[in-house]
């Protein structure tokens, strides 16, 4: 009996499966036909992939493949309206008639269009909507054809005005920080929220173990960039209202490719990359001998015969020893196909990259493994679309990502390979503990030694033996059902999951102190961290579309959305292994520590929106969202965010005749969205604190039960103009954002017991910007097409009010950023040199007299405050030239503190605020950002794409040169410019005049760190970078078919080819913080950590420059 039941269950299951894969009788019985054809460029005849073809009012559709071909089968026999859309081309609608059992051929020759108002978007709209109906901007980014992009970060870099993907340096695997229209929040993450096919995903970053900042991955980059169809970007609150209390920094939605009908079509890609740091990207280390004996020793050691005392010599320690040619290999396969009821798309990609960091030979013979900059990604996905009946479409997508990141200790980190190489002083180099094996540019010690002259912490070789690794296994999927019971009503349910399992290990092996310099855990240390993040999405929505009259249409959508996020992180630490070969924390002999943190956050919201159209050229939208969340304070309740927008397209009026101004639209929108506090910010807590006394706890967080989301209201207005039948297009947007109830991380007085900052809805921020886009096709003729584009965005941001809270310091003491009431966001403050005052006294911003110096006359004054002298009213006294020459009559040694103290700069209070060290000098956020470039198509075979990215109007805090070009007893002071100053002042053979010249340079340019001045450390970061170039050759069909291929293309591409800048440091794109782990809501983080992520930008602190990359790619279609 049991057996029978089992068998019947099995039979039932099989029957159910058969029912799934077999078209319902009602469909099968109906006469159907097939539509197929080709989509191609009308001028070049080049096939066009990715075009979306659909039948109006029914779930039948297809996407053109790489050969431009599409096929839709099982279409009920009748007359249909058929519509094609492809971004960058003019859309087409045709009337067709499908006959039972017949195959209809329908080709689509397309013309480029610089404007795409007819393209359809779904993000933030509740349903599919043409862009022209929206009063707000929704950007659509297509993966750039041919461009050398290895990650989603690359796909987003420099595509859309106002959307910035910020790299932080040149270590492989580094993810970009993404900022859209600047910073809507002071204390919360300014990363946009990210969706994949309608499902909220984990978009955190970080290595889970500390590495110094660089090489930190972004979880967005887990996604295979070749599997995506497009990315839709909502830039701010006006567009993102329907996403509610987490969307004020915008929304990014990534859409994967869907299956297309037909026999399986395979596409294979093989790519080989070369990655390098070019010549001149690093500054050599310098030094000089102080005695003849030293000079003789160094002449031998560094192979510099004839070296004299006080003669400055150089060696590029990093470039000579730690640079190699990086390599990457990518292999990918995609397949698509299916029948009338089921279509599929599958992708598999393997990418392995070993970056340009070298130096592994330094550890030869030690038995230790050298840290490397590697990234390996295995990405697999399957999309299946099932159409069981005319009114129902079900889509299921499952993806799996296996990612491995390894990165060395780096950046602003005394144990970083590059930082130690930058700190080395060749004059101090020696192999005293063993003997020199080789000398010259690449000295090596036979055993323990200090071959590059490191004065503190550890040698670069010891740093090289420390490794960091992060393994990620991630499962991500979406299940989506769309039911269209009639032509007016659509019901849509989406359920999704995103589960990220991670294991991170920071490891120093037993005996890694091969040079006997470091005393940091010489017997080894290990930090092992496991993290699990689970994000669940539930989304139900209904759309009701109806034409009430021939001129009035209505689209109503309403929905319910919930995100349930859980995160658990376990960390174990231990040091002092009993012997070599051990790689488990459990074997550690001391400093064993473990921690576990858990987070659960639930956020949900209801939304509704009504859009009314008049005569299909005037559209008005009104809508709103109500949110509730576990993160809101007990007294805060829910929160409502409204939106309204208007779009007018005069060129869609039937009476519009102009082909010069072929398209014209004006639009305006206003909307609100929020950013909510962290999951537990509202609670007053006491945190566990243990010692030898036993278990205990201490003050943790002050708490605030009134916490609610901060609300950004964004106003946006703009227009689009298409010229000359849309061969040229111009797009302009102005926006203004006001963030009220801004979550200020208030540092309450420490005397009140709670050291941690506490969030309160106190502040107000304002920001405004302009975005401009220009596209055109100046040449379009058979055999040649030239497309050009340029876009730019302007941004200004200000702290309108801190709500009475005192200024907030950003980062540690050496960073000079504060958040101050009424100042621009990201402002930097430092000392400023007093001005010259040849004709009377200078005045400050308040009209009062301020310190100045008179450079004219027989004995001119200099901007030096010798020995800190002040006059009777306390103001600083400038030194005269004769005083300085007397002071410098004999050699002086800058290593002597009193000497440096004597040579103080003459500084002034320009602002009249009474605080000389806090004079505002600018801010860290560029005023202008943008990209320009173009593509050239020659015949059917050749296509060239290129672009340049630029940023203008911002300051970089150059801490690297703050150390390397100023005095420091143990690190830095090792660039030639500095060594010349120091040696000139010290050399008995120098004249007083020569010493004065050196002293002036010291005071005016190199007094930087004394003690926290940042003086002369802020430098303009303006740059333009030749970001991308690609040349693609598509094989003629006869050649491809000879190789049994349906299509064949070869691409040569480069990335980060050239840099144009006056920034005197290493690279204006370096940033100290990297892609950190702060991205609500999937990790616990403090407001202080978020403030660092938001405002420790543009800091050059011992980072690695952006590397160049070249690749050859072969695409082979079957």
């Amino acid at each position: 009996m049991r057996l029978f039941v089992r068998r019947s269950t099995l039979v039932g299951a099989l029957a159910a499966l058969a029912a799934i894969v077999t078209p319902p009788t009602s469909l099968a019985a109906q006469a159907t036909g097939t539509i197929e054809g080709k989509v191609f460029d009308a001028t070049s005849q080049k096939p066009l992939a990715g075009a979306q073809i659909g039948l109006v009012g029914a779930p039948y559709g297809a996407t053109s493949n790489e050969a431009g071909e599409y096929r839709i089968s099982g279409v009920p026999a009748r007359q249909w309206q058929m519509r094609l859309r492809l971004i960058g081309y003019t859309p087409k609608t045709v009337l067709i008639t499908v006959t039972g059992g017949g195959t209809l051929k329908q080709d689509f020759p397309l013309n480029p269009s610089a404007l795409s108002l007819d393209r359809v978007v779904v993000t933030g709209t509740g349903q599919q909507v043409e862009v022209k109906k929206l009063g707000n901007t929704v950007a659509t980014v297509k993966p750039p054809e041919g461009a050398l992009v290895t990650s989603i970060s690359d796909v987003l870099t420099g595509r859309e005005p106002g959307v910035n993907a910020l790299t932080s340096g040149g270590l492989t695997g580094e993810g970009a920080r993404i900022r859209i229209r600047g910073n809507a929040s002071l204390s919360q993450s300014n990363e946009p929220i990210v969706f994949l096919d309608g499902v909220r995903i984990n978009s955190d970053g970080g290595m889970l173990v500390g590495t110094g900042g660089g090489g930190s991955p972004s979880r967005i980059d887990d996604i295979d960039p070749t599997s995506i169809d497009r990315i839709e970007v909502l830039k701010g609150a006006a567009a993102a209202t329907l996403y509610g209390s987490e969307a004020s920094n915008g929304v990014i939605q990534i859409f994967t490719k869907k299956g297309t009908q037909g026999a399986p079509r395979w596409n294979f890609t093989l790519q080989q990359d070369a990655i390098s740091w070019g010549e001149g990207q690093f500054f050599p280390n310098s030094g000089f001998a102080r005695t003849q004996a030293d000079a003789d020793r160094l002449a031998t050691y560094w192979g510099k015969p004839g070296l004299q005392p006080y003669q400055v010599f150089e060696n590029d320690v990093f470039a000579n020893n730690f640079r190699e040619l990086g390599r990457a290999t990518t292999a990918a396969a995609q397949v698509t196909g299916g029948g009338g009821n089921i279509q599929y798309f599958g992708n598999l990609r393997y990418q392995a990259e070993n970056g340009p960091l070298g130096g592994t030979d330094l550890l030869n013979g030690t038995g230790l493994t050298a840290a490397q900059d590697r990234a390996r990604r295995i990405q697999a996905g399957l999309n299946v679309t099932w159409i069981p009946m005319t009114s129902l479409r079900v889509t299921a997508r499952n993806s799996f990502f296996n990612v491995l990141n390894t990165t060395p200790e780096n950046a602003n980190n005394i144990f970083g390979i590059n930082s130690l190489a930058y700190m080395a002083r060749p004059e101090q180099a020696n192999c005293n503990l063993s003997s020199v094996r080789t000398s010259g540019d690449k000295p090596r010690c036979l055993g323990a030694g200090n071959p590059f002259g490191n004065q503190a912490f550890m040698t670069p070789r010891e740093a090289l033996a420390q490794t960091n690794e992060l393994q990620t296994n991630r499962f991500n999927g979406a299940f989506d059902a769309v039911w269209t019971p009639n032509s007016e009503l659509t019901l849509n349910g989406t359920f999704g999951y995103d589960i990220t399992n991670q294991l991170a290990v920071g490891f120093s092996p037993f005996g890694y102190n091969v040079d006997l310099l470091t005393l940091t855990d010489p017997n080894g240390a290990r930090n092992s961290v496991t993290g699990r993040t689970r994000v669940l999405t539930g989304d139900l929505k209904a759309a009701w579309n109806r034409n009430f009259t021939s001129s009035i249409s209505s689209s109503f959508t309403t929905g319910l959305q919930v995100f349930n996020t859980e995160s658990v992180i376990n960390s174990t630490v231990g040091t002092n292994f009993p012997g070599p070969g051990i790689e488990v924390v459990g074997a550690a002999g001391s400093n064993r520590d473990l921690s576990e943190s858990r987070l659960l956050q639930v956020t949900g919201g209801y939304y509704a929106q009504e859009q009314v159209g008049f005569n299909d050229w005037v559209f008005a939208t009104i809508g709103g969202r109500y949110d509730f969340s576990s993160a809101f304070g007990a007294n805060a309740g829910g929160i409502f965010m409204p939106k309204v927008s208007l779009s007018i397209v005069p060129s869609d009026r039937r009476s519009w005749r102009s082909t010069t101004l072929s398209t014209f639209r004006v639009r305006a929108a206003v909307g609100e969205a929020g950013r909510q506090p962290g999951a537990f910010d509202r609670f007053t807590t006491f945190s566990p604190l243990v010692s030898g006394l036993g278990p205990g706890f201490a003050p943790g967080q002050l708490g605030n039960q009134n916490l609610r989301p901060e609300i950004s209201r964004e106003y946006e207005a703009g227009f689009e103009a298409g010229l000359f039948n849309n061969r040229a297009g111009f797009d302009f947007s102005w926006w203004r954002r006001e963030t009220r109830d801004a979550l200020v991380a208030q540092q309450f007085a420490f005397s009140g017991g709670f050291r941690n900052q506490q969030l309160a809805n106190l502040g107000q921020l304002t920001a405004a910007g302009v975005e401009i886009g220009l596209k055109g096709t100046p040449i379009q003729k058979p055999g040649m097409e030239l497309n050009l584009f340029a876009n730019a965005a302007f941004l200004t941001q200000k702290v309108s009010s801190l709500g009475g809270v005192p200024p907030i310091k950003v980062g540690y003491v050496r960073y000079r950023g504060f958040i101050k009431n009424a100042d621009p966001l990201g402002s930097l403050y430092t000392f400023r040199t007093a001005p010259a005052c040849p004709s009377g006294s200078a005045t400050n911003a308040r009209g009062n007299a301020m310190t100045c110096y008179n450079p004219s006359g027989a004995d001119p004054q200099l901007p030096i405050n010798l020995n800190g002298l002040r006059n009777s009213n306390g103001t600083l006294v400038p030194a005269t030239r004769s005083q300085m020459l007397a002071f410098l009559a004999n050699p002086i040694d800058l290593r002597v503190g009193a000497t440096r103290a004597a040579l103080a700069p003459l500084v002034a209070d320009y602002e009249g605020n009474g605080t000389l060290s806090e004079q505002r000098v600018g801010d860290i956020f560029p005023d202008w950002t943008g990209t320009f470039g173009g593509s050239l198509t020659l015949g059917k075979q050749w296509r060239i794409n290129t672009n340049f990215e630029f940023r203008q109007g911002y300051l970089i805090q150059n801490l690297t040169d703050g150390f390397r070009l100023s005095f420091h007893p143990s690190i830095g002071s090792n660039r030639a410019e500095w060594s010349r100053i120091e040696s000139t002042l010290l050399n008995p053979a120098s004249t007083a005049e020569q010493r004065l010249d050196a002293a002036l340079r010291f005071v005016q340019n190199h007094q930087r760190l004394t003690p926290y001045d940042g003086y002369n450390m802020m430098q303009s970061g303006d740059f333009a970078r030749w970001r991308e170039l690609s040349v693609t050759w598509t094989a003629p069909e006869r050649i491809a078919s000879r190789l049994s291929a349906r299509s064949l293309a070869v691409t040569f591409a480069g990335r980060n080819l050239l840099l144009f800048t006056r920034y005197p440091g290493q690279d204006p794109e370096i940033n100290a913080v990297g892609r950190g782990a702060v991205a609500n809501p999937t990790q616990l983080s403090s407001p202080a950590a978020a403030i660092d992520q938001n405002f420790l930008d543009s800091i050059d602190a011992f980072g690695l420059p952006v590397a160049r990359r070249f690749a050859i790619t072969v695409n082979w279609g079957l």
Binding site: I414, F457, L519, F680, P695, S751, P807, V813
Partner: protein
């Protein structure tokens, strides 16, 4: 089964489907539940009941420990005990005697915040939570924990009294309370002595000898340090602003209460007794004296104490690493007391979990010896100082037999130097005995004005009633 009609089967299937949908919907309801818990920390409403008293007190002790770990390094770098060898100029400032810069990252970002937390928490525990618990039926059970909390409270107030020139005292949160002021700074010791006295009463009632011993000892230390600070403050106030303050003319302390407490504590102690805080890795913030000295290598023991290794980062191994000799021994011999404490604190093996001595029998003996010396009671001085020397197996001395040029006062200063090494006492001795540290620069405030740590930049930035303002300003007495 055979009688089942297709219609009935369809109905059953529908019911099954309905049940599945209902179950799925109910299951999905959990997705919407917004009453989530925070299992990572204790919420304030959970801090009730006698069961939590011990852990409340442990937490206070750990908090006091943490603040000492944050303050000890900067303090010892100002003195000649430790010296800077690393990357951060904040230590250079301190090493050269620039002690009063409110922006100094060690005093501003670590010392003051952690010390403030421990001080506020001490009030929270001893003045708010413990009285409530002592008023319940569980008072007998709570009494030892309440006494222990008062011990930690006395410790933190004593340390603040010794190491700071001004501080902000408040029992409230999130307010801008005025600072005590340089003139009224004696308040810190008054509070410390009061807490110790109340603790002693509780410990006595509870019959807890160990707590009586420690509470008596901390009161002795507080009274002794109070007298030192009063001397220094008087000398500083006597010197006109901008001029140099002189060392006290009679630096030796003879405070009858302090001496009585010290003698009472000695009676309760075993020879060589020490109260030590022992951290665990999780106790300490990223920057603490053990890590900074033995791992990061920002600082190491000063050149007057040790012979460093070739790279200048640590003492040479063993006794070869001890430079400071026993001044009472005519034959230059590395001081055994110093050798012992350097082994405990200042070698890489110790790393970040360096134990910190707060109270000790030798400390009490040194208070007794100093009082004897101040009153010219040589016999008592010799007894006490020889008890100190015996703890590190150094030979007994007589004042008359001291080597030429070595006075009894010199010996007292020396024994304090080696026996109270890294116990935050050396800076006061530098000032009161007129012995500048080796790295102090003549123009700097440590030499000129004998100042201690200020109210920090961060406190003054967020508390506009903490003086002097603006936040980067220093007090008039210390300019």
């Amino acid at each position: 089964m055979s009688h089942t009609t297709p219609m009935l089967r369809a109905c059953r299937a529908l019911r099954l489907a309905g049940a599945a949908v209902l179950a799925a919907t109910l299951g999905a309801c959990n997705l919407f539940e917004t009453s989530v818990r925070n299992p990572n920390a204790i919420t304030e409403d959970a801090l009730g009941g006698a069961a939590i008293a011990a852990n409340l007190t442990n937490g206070l002790g750990s908090s006091v420990l943490r603040s000492m770990a944050a303050v000890l390094g900067p303090n010892a770098v100002v003195s000649d005990e430790l010296t800077w060898i690393g990357s951060r100029e904040a230590y250079r400032q301190l090493d050269e005697g620039q002690i009063t810069d409110p922006r100094n990252e060690y005093t501003n970002e670590n010392g003051y915040p952690f010390t403030s937390e421990a001080r506020w928490y001490a009030d929270f525990v001893t003045e708010d939570r413990m009285p409530a618990l002592l008023a319940t039926v569980d008072s007998v059970r709570v009494r030892p924990d309440a006494a222990r909390a008062l011990l930690y409270s006395a410790m933190i107030h004593t340390m603040i009294g010794e190491m700071y020139d001004d501080f902000v005292l408040t029992r409230l949160r999130a307010i801008e309370a005025p600072s005590v002021g340089v003139a009224r700074f004696d308040t810190m010791f008054v509070i410390a002595i009061d807490r110790a006295t109340r603790g002693l009463q509780l410990a006595t009632t509870a019959g807890n000898t160990a707590l009586r011993r420690d509470l008596t000892a901390i009161r002795a230390r507080a009274r002794h340090s109070r007298a030192i600070k009063a001397q220094l403050r008087a000398a500083r106030a006597a010197a006109a602003p901008g001029t140099s303050a002189a060392a006290p003319t009679s630096p030796l302390i003879n405070d009858a209460d302090a001496t009585a407490d010290a003698q009472a504590a000695i009676a309760l102690m075993t020879p060589g007794y020490r109260f030590q805080f022992v951290p665990q890795p999780a106790t300490l913030p990223g920057i603490n004296v053990g890590f900074e000295m033995n791992s990061r290598l920002e600082i190491r023991v000063g050149g007057a104490y040790i012979n460093p290794n070739a790279s200048g980062t640590q003492p040479l191994p063993g006794v070869a690493g001890i430079r400071l000799t026993d001044i009472a021994n005519p034959t230059p011999t590395p001081d055994a007391a110093l050798a012992r404490v350097v082994d405990e604190c200042c070698r890489s093996a110790v790393d970040r979990t360096m134990p910190m001595t707060v109270l000790s029998e030798v400390d009490m003996q040194l208070i007794v010896a100093e009082a004897a010396l101040a009153t010219g009671n040589t016999a008592n001085f010799e007894t006490a100082i020889n008890a100190v020397r015996a703890r590190s197996s150094k030979p007994a001395i007589t004042v008359a037999g001291l080597p030429t040029g070595v006075t009894a006062s010199d010996l007292l200063v020396h024994e304090r130097r080696v026996n109270l090494f890294l116990q935050m006492r050396r800076l006061m001795d530098h000032y009161r005995f007129g012995i500048p540290a080796d790295r102090w620069v003549t123009q700097n405030i440590a030499i000129r004005r004998h100042c201690f740590f200020p109210v920090s930049f961060g406190e003054k930035l967020s508390n506009r009633n903490a003086q002097p303002q603006p936040a980067e300003a220093t007090t008039a007495e210390c300019r």
